[in-house]
């Protein structure tokens, strides 16, 4: 089956071009704040012109619209043919006091609701600002997985006779992707940072810039033979991690396999532990999460340096996971 996620090896030149383009666009946004602002402004222009609900409306715009739409006009329209118009005017005059009473009560209620929403929104912005660090360098703790650990992951993926398509989430420069490919596996990687993937892309690896959760949602059921959680996924909030585990269950084939190769929370230095979001998820916790999603999950020792164990899980609960490094 030929789809965007099943691209033959001969396409790597086009994959490289795509990665270069996406990285260049990201660099342009970072280097030219005017351009980034212009991009947001024109997208907002369309959101303003399109009907409500037609775009992923920014919340401020939605609040403005909610405010406008939540007001009921007591002056009901009376425009019509001459005779009917007079009747409508008469009805309006007769019940105006009541209509006015009801609409005033409703408008006060919706006004309070919108004010409450705005208040929550302002507080959310304060919280988001407090959590945000704009200097990406400060947060750059995403060290690449060691070649030895990557080889171990690749052996686990490729030990099946025909491993099928494998996806590496948060693939970084592509060390794991490279290892799997060298062992004959069909594999691609997803990474949110376009600059990080460039060394791997230059080597001809199929690495793509994309949000991991969004990409998983786009995949069809039973599309993957194996899924590797790597890189910085352990920093995600628990709810996001759980959603990804549930999605993993959906996109994996019945005999599919999940491998978790993430840094031990204990391996973080003082600075990283203080600055980096989340405290990280330890491997036994991954095992627990995977078991809760009906995987059979086991821990195996890894060569390190920052990854002491990897988690290997399979969907068939009766199947006992074994591999060369057990």
């Amino acid at each position: 089956m030929a789809s965007s996620n099943d691209i033959p090896a001969s396409d790597h030149d086009i994959i490289r071009v795509r990665a270069e383009i996406e990285a260049e666009a990201e660099a342009l946004r970072r280097e030219d704040p005017d351009l980034a602002g212009f991009e947001r402004e024109i997208e907002r222009t369309w959101a303003d012109i399109a009907p409500i609900g037609a775009t992923g409306d920014p919340r401020e715009l939605l609040l403005d619209r909610a405010e406008r739409l939540s007001v009921i006009d007591a002056n009901v329209p009376v425009g019509s043919r001459r005779g009917i118009k007079q009747i409508k005017l008469l009805i309006r005059k007769a019940i105006y006091w009541y209509i006015r009473y009801v609409t005033d009560a409703f408008n006060v209620f919706t006004g309070v609701l919108v004010r409450l929403l705005r208040n929550i929104d302002e507080r959310l912005v304060v919280v988001e600002d407090a959590l945000r660090l704009d200097d990406a360098d400060l947060l750059d703790f995403s060290a690449e997985v060691s070649p030895e650990t990557a080889d171990q992951v690749a052996r686990i993926i490729c030990e099946k006779p025909s491993p099928g398509l494998c996806l590496v989430l948060s693939c970084g420069e592509g060390t794991i992707v490279d290892a799997i490919q060298r062992q004959g596996g069909k594999v691609y990687g997803i990474e949110h940072d376009p600059q990080r993937i460039m060394p791997g892309v230059q080597k001809g690896l199929d690495l793509r810039v994309c949000d991991a959760a969004r990409h998983l949602r786009k995949l069809a059921d039973n599309q993957l033979a194996a899924l590797v959680f790597a890189g910085v996924v352990e920093s995600l909030p628990l709810s996001s991690l759980w959603s990804m585990v549930v999605e993993a269950k959906r996109v994996l084939k019945p005999d599919g396999r999940v491998v978790v190769a993430v840094a031990d929370p204990g391996s973080r230095g003082v600075v990283e532990a203080d600055i980096r979001s989340g405290r990280g998820i330890a491997q036994p916790t991954w095992q627990h999460l995977l078991k809760r999603a009906d995987f059979s999950a086991q821990l195996f020792a890894a060569p390190g340096p920052r990854i002491s164990q990897i988690v290997v899980a399979e969907l068939a609960t009766e199947t006992h996971v074994t591999h060369a490094d057990s």
Binding site: S4, I14, T45
Partner: protein, 362 residues
């Protein structure tokens, strides 16, 4: 006795991919020795004057009696024909062209949603009646399998690329709108509907003209939602690119050929495409393709175009700029595009269709 085949299609319309496919399928079935009746719900008058469609071949739904040896239903939206098939428990070959997700129309034209939802529902009811499912793409085949169909093959949309052959319709200066060689021309062809995201093309253009002040965007296609077009015009106006955007409307094959000849890059940012015939036409003309990876787009383009994961305006503008400025990339895309289009030409695809239907037509 030749096999009598009823070929059911919702409507026949000029410049419509499903209609063209149906007529080519009719020709193929005739070549295979079958006797074919075209059964349609709606007939657009001028189609019967089309070079390869004759009014006498067409039966309207209310006059149709289902007594054929084989019934082939073209399914891309809810239809009365599908209801008749379901009501009569008629065994069929189902040729599925995908149904646009209704949510993409909800905000724009809620009354269109009913037909689409009904089409999705009908697909499930049609599943137990389907002897063979034919999908345009693997992407489309997933819907069929999900609906419960087990015997599904993939045969791309039949499209005779010779119909817009540049040798048949040389631009030769006659198409003055297309003849302006001083500008970089971005082209997209498709019905003017929101899921094809013409608005994203205009946004990308407004970033691109920072680097290419003379660039223009040419949008070809039938107007389906008047409201959508007027909002697109308002968007172009607000962004100061109204004079750089040409809404060419529905055009003749000759004009379409001229635009493909003139285009520097074909840009498709659709949210949903079950196949996207204009991508194939652009590739046939050697026009480099930049597209957004949605639905079946990557499957249609394969390695013959730049298929992006992200369609934010800067990313698309960067991609277009790269294609415009990198001659070796243009050459690569041009060569691969022609090769890919040849794989999808009717000469090849009709062979696949013939094999798929061989067991049904003697």
């Amino acid at each position: 006795m030749p096999t009598l085949v009823d070929l059911l299609v919702c409507e026949l319309r000029e410049h419509d991919a499903t209609s063209t496919h149906t007529l080519l399928l009719r020709d193929l079935l005739v070549k295979m020795g079958a006797e074919v009746r075209l059964v349609v719900e709606r007939k657009i008058d001028h189609v019967s004057d089309h070079a390869y469609c004759h009014a006498q071949d067409i039966v309207l739904t209310d006059r149709w009696r289902s007594n054929a040896d084989l019934t082939i239903l073209q399914h891309s939206t809810g239809s009365e024909l599908a209801e008749r098939v379901i009501g009569n428990r008629l065994p069929i070959v189902l040729n599925y062209h995908n149904i646009t997700p209704p949510e993409l129309f909800e905000a724009w034209q809620p009354e269109l949603v009913t037909g689409l939802v009904s089409g999705q529902r009908q697909l499930h009811y049609l599943a137990p009646l389907t002897l063979l499912g034919i999908a345009d793409t693997h992407f489309n085949s997933r819907d069929m399998i999900e609906a419960g169909m087990t015997n599904v093959v993939v045969v791309p949309v039949l499209r005779n690329l010779k119909l817009i052959d540049p040798q048949l319709f040389p631009a030769s200066g006659a198409q003055t709108e297309a003849a302006d060689s001083a500008t970089e021309t971005l082209l997209f062809v498709g019905r003017l509907v929101p899921n094809k995201c013409f608005h994203d093309l205009i946004l990308a253009l407004s970033v691109l003209i920072r680097y290419r002040p003379k660039a223009r965007l040419v949008l070809i296609g039938r107007e389906v939602l008047v409201d959508y077009k007027s909002r697109l015009e308002a968007l172009a106006e607000r962004l100061g690119v109204r004079d750089r955007v040409l809404f060419a409307g529905e055009v003749s094959d000759q004009k379409l050929a001229a635009w493909y000849e003139r285009a520097d890059v074909f840009v498709c940012l659709s949210e949903h495409e079950g196949f996207c015939v204009p991508l194939v036409e652009a590739m046939a003309y050697g026009v480099p393709v930049v597209a957004y990876d949605a639905a079946a787009v990557a499957e249609t383009v394969q390695d013959a175009g730049v298929v992006l994961n992200d369609k934010r305006p800067t990313t698309v503008a960067t991609a277009v700029e790269r294609v415009l400025s990198d001659q070796s990339l243009r050459d690569l895309l041009c060569d691969r595009g022609i090769r890919r289009a040849n794989q999808l030409d009717v000469n090849v695809t009709s062979q696949r269709m013939r094999r798929a239907l061989a067991g049904f037509v003697d």
